[in-house]
Amino acid sequence: MEREQLKTELKQHIIKYLNLLEKTPADIIDDQPLFGDGLGLDSIDSIELVVLLEREYGIKINDPKDGRKIFTSINTMVDYIIANRIK
């Protein structure tokens, strides 16, 4: 799958899993921080993203704390998915 296509798909998944109201993929900027000030996600969201990676891409992250580096931005997530996806 093309990187651009994967980014859009990932954004759609994130919007669905985290129920981001009134947001479309176009609203999520690729290198914007997902946590803290950027998209404003928190610790419960990081757990939801771990589940997203497992259900949609077959990637298991055993320690949720490892997730924080992977979830820095859309770009870092896409890099990780490309390198590790099973589905």
Binding site: L21, I44, I47
Partner: protein, 342 residues
């Protein structure tokens, strides 16, 4: 205890532009809330909220704006969070206890309503959730009265919230608490068959011990657990001897033939001059429906106007200063609430 402000999100036009004359009919015997646009709730919080939390926080918002620095939040709910509960349960089963998303679990607890109201207003005060089914809201009222006794200068947010989720609707349906035949709201009382119609809603109040500027005074509450209608009538007699005549009897009768005798028994104790009203065609049957009855009572006492559809029998324009609400949950839990114009 005095009620100063009230707010209600319900299946009727009770929030924003209110209209008590119009009665929205049930759909397939369910009265579902009309949800407003939740302007005051940050999207980041709103996205996680289940229905009970949304309508609880939504109804609380106008009151939170009126009074910052509340001393506490006291909520009664029997079914709050059940929608999220079943969503989490479905995950448990679908993924065979594998890796699951936690939001539904965290939002499935009944105390999520009071917690989110506390979070939205950053309120560190007293925060409690009463879940005693058909007396959840009444217990919350009693708690507020006791807290005000202890803290006479305090103001609390008091509320009753319940939601119809697919889960609790089905359980109640299996237990025979809803009508099998399709019913229009206005026929609810006329057709005496088993069951009633389902409802949901959220009613919130600012309460304190100051009479100046209050809409009404909650004079007394009594709760009872019994299946004996003679005991109920006897206790009502005692209650009336202590608290006197009430101009209006606001009945929670709901068209369920099996429990009508409780309501009839209480009505028979009242003298003919008492105006008799009912509310379940407006609210639907749900454990904290008396919270919505209190909201209606606030409006009636303040405006001295009661829309015709609330009257049992012919409407009248008699002035009134006191209201007695009587409700029973499943013919087993009962409450009398005495209200007077402030």
């Amino acid at each position: 205890m005095f009620v100063h402000q009230s707010s209600c999100i319900s299946p009727q036009h009770t929030f924003g532009t209110t209209d008590r004359e119009t009665v929205v009919a049930p759909e397939n015997n369910i009265l579902k809330v009309i949800e407003p646009k939740y302007d005051g709730i940050p999207l980041n919080m709103l996205r996680r909220m289940g229905k009970a939390v949304r309508i609880g926080v939504g109804a609380a918002m106008p009151l939170l704006r009126q009074k910052q620095n509340l001393d506490g939040i006291i909520i009664g709910t029997a079914n709050g969070g059940m929608e999220d509960c079943i969503k989490f349960l479905n995950q448990v089963m679908e993924y065979d206890e594998g890796r699951l998303t936690p939001t539904n679990f965290v939002q499935s607890t009944p105390n999520a309503i009071a917690a989110q109201v506390g979070l939205t207003s950053v309120n560190n005060g007293y925060n409690i959730t009463h879940v005693h089914r058909g007396l959840a809201f009444e217990n919350a009222m009693l708690d507020a009265m006791m807290m005000l006794n202890d803290n006479p200068d305090a103001t609390y947010l008091l509320g009753g919230v319940d939601e119809v989720s697919s889960y609790n609707y089905n359980l109640e349906r299996l237990d025979g608490w809803y009508k099998k035949e399709k019913i229009d709201g206005k026929d609810l009382y006329a057709k005496q068959t088993n069951g009633s119609i389902a409802g949901e809603g959220s009613a919130m109040f600012l309460v304190n011990n100051k009479s100046a500027g209050a809409i009404l005074k909650v004079q007394a509450i009594q709760m009872l657990h019994t299946k004996d209608s003679v005991e109920v009538s006897s206790k009502l007699n005692e209650f009336l001897e202590k608290w006197g005549h009430h101009d209006v009897f606001f009945s929670g009768e709901n068209g369920d033939a099996r429990i009508q005798s409780f309501y009839d028994g209480c009505e028979n104790l009242l003298n003919g001059s008492v105006t008799k009203l009912h509310f379940k065609h407006f609210t639907g049957e749900h454990p904290s429906a008396t919270a919505m009855a209190l909201w209606l009572a606030c409006n009636f006492l303040e405006t001295q106007k009661i829309p015709g559809h609330f009257f049992k029998g012919n409407p009248n324009q008699n002035p009134f200063k006191s209201i007695l609400i009587y409700n029973t949950g499943k013919g087993m839990q009962h409450s009398f609430i005495s209200l007077t114009k402030s």
